[in-house]
Structure formats: structure tokens, C-alpha cells
Amino acid sequence: MSVTGFQSGSRRSAFATAALDRRRLVDRVMQALLVLAIAIAIVPLIAVLGYVLAKGIPGLRITLFTKLPRPVDLGGGGMANSMIGSLIMVGLASVLGVLIGVGGGIYLAEYGHGRLAAAIRFFADVLSGIPSITVGLFVYVLLVVPLHSFSALAGAVALAILMLPLVMRTTEEMMRLVPETLREASLALGVPRWRTIVSVVLPAALEGIITGTLLAIARVAGETAPLLFTAFGNEFWQRSLLKPIDAVPLRVFKYAIGPYDVWHKLAQAGALVLILFVLVLGVAARWIAGRRRLSER
């Protein structure tokens, strides 16, 4: 056994040649570049969070959640009506989006083999890329014009359309992840197809579907553009689903581009509330997803 072969042509050890030195250098440079990329990517995120926190916290008073908007010389009031309006529209949109989205996702995953399913899948992907203001305009023509009024209903429908592709594709993906052997196990017990889907596949995919749905809700909760021509905004309480209603993003939009300092302060507080809402949903989604991984162990 001789090791001279390794050392021929060099006085250094075979494990420390010039070529290896160069590789190590390239490796370091590449790593540094990747770290730089992630740093650049994360800077805006932290900057936005920090800025909204810093600017929003001073305006975060209890009146923000309890009072209606008031004239600027009376302190500007709060945005209680906007928050309720947002809750109504996001809630209604979630019901619509989840019912139709989960239903469509189940169809695609369990029955979708033909051309129809391929077409639906394609249009869902296109739909998720459509600018949200286009959806707003579409619902304007679809609901606002025939009903002669901006309304919470129109706003909710616009948000639901934005949620739909996300919920549908997540549901499909999650149902496809359920092993075929589980379906077979149920079918072999003489359980009909639909019952198998409801009692075996759906429960197995449920946590993933909930996670995806929460993320979809978080995504539309902050949408402004689709509400401009549908919910329109309102300075007062609105009980009817068929009349114009306010929403937090609309209020933030209006105040942020307005000329008064009081408005700016309120807009920043409103933006903070929105971010916190989205953050809570995001954390909830992560928690549910994490629980799922744990239970699989």
C-alpha cells in the first residue's frame, strides 16, 4: 500500500492542492452572493413592517375601533364602520370562496381527468394572475350596474373571485397528496365513492385545505383595488348588504392620499391593523400546518 501516487508533482498533500483552493474560494463567493440576495429580499419586508409599526402604534387608540369617521377638526374619529365592513365582506367572500373553491378542488382532484378539468385548471391559473382591479370592474358590470348601487355584496363577490383559484388549487393539491391506498382501503370496504371522499380523503387533506384557505383570506383581506368600484366606501354604518359599505383598505387609501396630518396618522394605524390581521392568519396557518407534520410522525 503506497500513497505516493497521490503526491506526485506536488510537495503539498493531495488534500490541499491549488485546484481545491480555487474551488473553496468559488464556494465562498457563491455563498456570499446568495446571502446578499436573501438580505436584499428581506430588507423591504422588514422596512415595511418597521415603518408601519413605528408610524402606526401612536395612532392605535381604542377610538379607532369604536368611533365612526369624523371631520378633521374634530380629531378624525375612528374607523369602526370600515372594520365591520371589512369583516362582513371578507366573511361573506370566504363563505362563497370556500364553498365553491373546495367543491371545485374536490372535482379536479377526484373526478378531473378529462379535457373539461384541464380547461378549468388552466382558467383557474389564469384567474389567479388577473389584476385585481379587473375583477373589480367585472363585478361592477355584473352586479353594481344591474342593482343600481355599490354594495357589500358586490365587494364580497369580487373578493371571492380573487380567493377562488387559490382555494381551488390548494384543495386539489392537498387531496392529491392523500395516498391512493387510503381510497382503495375505503372502497374495498364497500364504501361508495362519494362517501370515501367525504369520510376519508377530505379529513386527511383538511388541515392543508384550512391552511391554504387562511392564506387566501389573508391575501384578499388587504385588497383595495377590487373594492373601489364595488363596495365604494361609506362614512357611516351600513347594515344593508345592498348599499355601499366601507372597508379598512379603502379607508386607508382615502386617508393616505388626503391632505391632513390627522388622516395620515389614522391611515397608518389602519395599515397596522391590516398587517396584524394578516399576520394572525398567517401564524394560524403555520400553526395548523405544523400540527399536521407533528401528527404524521
Binding site: H113, P179, T181, L182, E184, A185, S186, L187, A188, L189, G190, V191, P192, R195, S199, V200, P203, A204, S295, E296
Partner: protein, 294 residues
């Protein structure tokens, strides 16, 4: 813990040496208690052809499955053993483009008759798969799943049925204190016995087993084989296996399948296990058994 295990292994070894399970002994000879001869056919397969689209995967298969015995199906890979097994409870219907010609009689009734609902067939012909596939539910809910959905029983009666099924699958003593724990907490062999209990809870006429031990270690395999011999006193069992020793150990009758030049599976011969392994009528069977191909 370790001590426990070694005790268990010793026990297993002891059982290995019991005559019923020693390699080379045939179940049909050893298990005298089982009515090996002259029982009625539970299922009859008559001129069965199976197609995927235009491709014929099974060619003209006819055989009888005697009641309360174990029929093993052996043969080289790709000879349609699993496909054949799955035609017996119409699981193969689920494959797009699947088509069946011929008859499969269960208690004299054709399960492929036009007015027969495949879902109903599967309540009479249970199935255990290659890999244990318990539902992500508790042990209890796994066994109760079928009876519950068919509204067979509930409450105390369901509890009794679950216990009875787990006992029949030789799993009760191991799980009776943790019925409401996740089925995934069980070992592979236990999971497979749970799947057997789940199938038994539907009180099927026939139990199909598709290589039920191929994903298990030797000790778990042995347990499953013991269990099958026990179940054969009450149930009709058809098992597909790659393991010829396994067929020799458990089966009363053995069917040998091969694949022909058109890539279709066909039955070479079906006889008592002793005959197939010691004096097969067909030369191809002998060649396969002695390991000259396959």
C-alpha cells in the same frame, strides 16, 4: 423492553418449529382440522377475460375457489396475479378503460351481472393490500369505519363487533388498552393485522389478500400466516404471493399463473398445494417451482 423483545422472538422461533408452519409441510396436509377435501366452491371463475382498453391483460381464466380454504396465486412478475385478485371484488372496475368478459360467481351469483352494484360486491368480498393502509384515525375508528358507514350497528353492539374483529385478527391483546390512539402508532405488522380486522368487521364471505406480508419483517410475516390458517376455518381466503414458501406453508390449493407471448396473464394449472409443489402436471410449473425461471 429489550428483554421483552427477545422473549417474543423466542416464542416466535418456537412457533416456527411447530409442524403447521415448518417449510416443506403443506397446509392441506398439516392442518387436518380444515376441511381440505370436497368442500363446495365459494367462488367460480368462468372464462374470465380482462381488458385495459384494447389490451387483454387476463386470458380465459377458469378456476374454483373452495369454501373455507386458502387459495394461493403464484407466478412471475407481471403475470396478472394482482389484476386477477382485484377482479374478484370488482376493485379493477376503478381503472379507466377496464372491461371484463366471462363470469365470476359468488355463491352462485354472477358479480358482473348488469344489475349488480360493484359497491355491494365489495361488502361481501373484503380485501387486504400489499402495504398496511390504516386510515389516519384511531384503532377503534379504523375497525368501526365499515360497519358505521353501512349503519350495521352502533353503541355497545359496535364495541362488541370491534373487539370481536380485533380478536379474530389476533390483535386485541396488543391494542385493547389503546383503542383510541392513532393507528399509525402501531408497528407495520400490527397495522396489517388492523387492516385485516377492518376487513373482517364487514363480515365478508371472502377475504382477498394481495401480498399481505411483502412489506413486513419475517416475524410479522409469520404472525400473518398463522392468522390466515386460523381465519381459514371460518373464511374463504385468496392470497397473491411472490413467496413460494409462503404459498407452501399456508395454502390448501395453489394456482400458477404465467404471462404468454401476447403479454396476457393466463392460468397454467390449479391444484392442491401438495400436487403443485411435488408433482405438477405442467412442465412450466415444475420449472418455476424449482427456480429455473421467474
Amino acid at each position: 423492553m429489550a428483554e421483552n423483545e427477545s422473549v417474543m422472538i423466542n416464542e416466535q422461533e418456537a412457533r416456527l418449529n411447530t409442524p403447521a408452519l415448518r417449510v416443506g409441510q403443506f397446509a392441506s396436509q398439516a392442518a387436518v382440522a380444515a376441511p381440505a377435501e370436497a368442500t363446495a366452491a365459494k367462488m367460480q371463475v368462468k372464462n374470465l377475460n380482462f381488458y385495459y382498453g384494447t389490451f387483454r391483460a387476463l386470458e380465459d381464466i377458469s378456476l374454483e375457489i373452495p369454501e373455507r380454504q386458502i387459495l394461493a396465486i403464484i407466478g412471475p412478475s407481471g403475470c396478472g396475479k394482482s389484476t386477477f385478485l382485484r377482479t374478484l371484488n370488482r376493485m379493477q372496475d376503478l381503472v379507466p378503460g377496464a372491461r371484463v368478459e366471462g363470469q365470476v360467481l359468488l355463491n352462485g351469483e354472477d358479480i358482473y351481472a348488469p344489475d349488480v352494484d360493484p359497491v355491494a360486491v365489495r361488502t361481501h368480498v373484503g380485501m387486504v393490500f400489499q402495504r398496511p393502509n390504516p386510515f389516519p384515525k384511531s384503532i377503534y375508528d379504523n375497525v368501526a369505519f365499515g360497519p358505521r358507514l353501512h349503519r350495521r350497528c352502533k353503541g355497545k353492539a359496535l364495541d362488541d363487533l370491534v373487539e370481536q374483529s380485533l380478536r379474530a385478527a389476533a390483535l386485541w391483546d396488543e391494542v385493547k388498552d389503546k383503542l383510541h390512539r392513532s393507528a399509525f402508532a402501531l408497528s407495520g405488522g400490527q397495522q396489517q393485522r388492523l387492516c385485516i380486522a377492518r376487513a373482517l368487521a364487514m363480515e365478508p364471505d371472502v377475504l382477498l389478500m394481495d401480498e399481505p406480508a411483502s412489506a413486513l419483517d419475517p416475524i410479522a410475516t409469520l404472525k400473518i400466516e398463522e392468522l390466515m390458517l386460523e381465519l381459514a376455518q371460518r373464511y374463504t381466503i385468496v392470497i397473491v404471493t411472490h413467496n413460494m414458501q409462503q404459498a407452501a406453508r399456508v395454502a390448501h390449493r395453489t394456482a400458477f399463473f404465467m404471462v404468454n407471448e401476447r403479454r396476457a396473464g393466463f392460468l397454467v394449472e390449479c391444484d392442491t398445494t401438495a400436487t403443485i409443489f411435488t408433482a405438477p402436471k405442467d412442465k412450466r410449473t415444475e420449472e418455476y417451482i424449482t427456480g429455473r425461471f421467474g
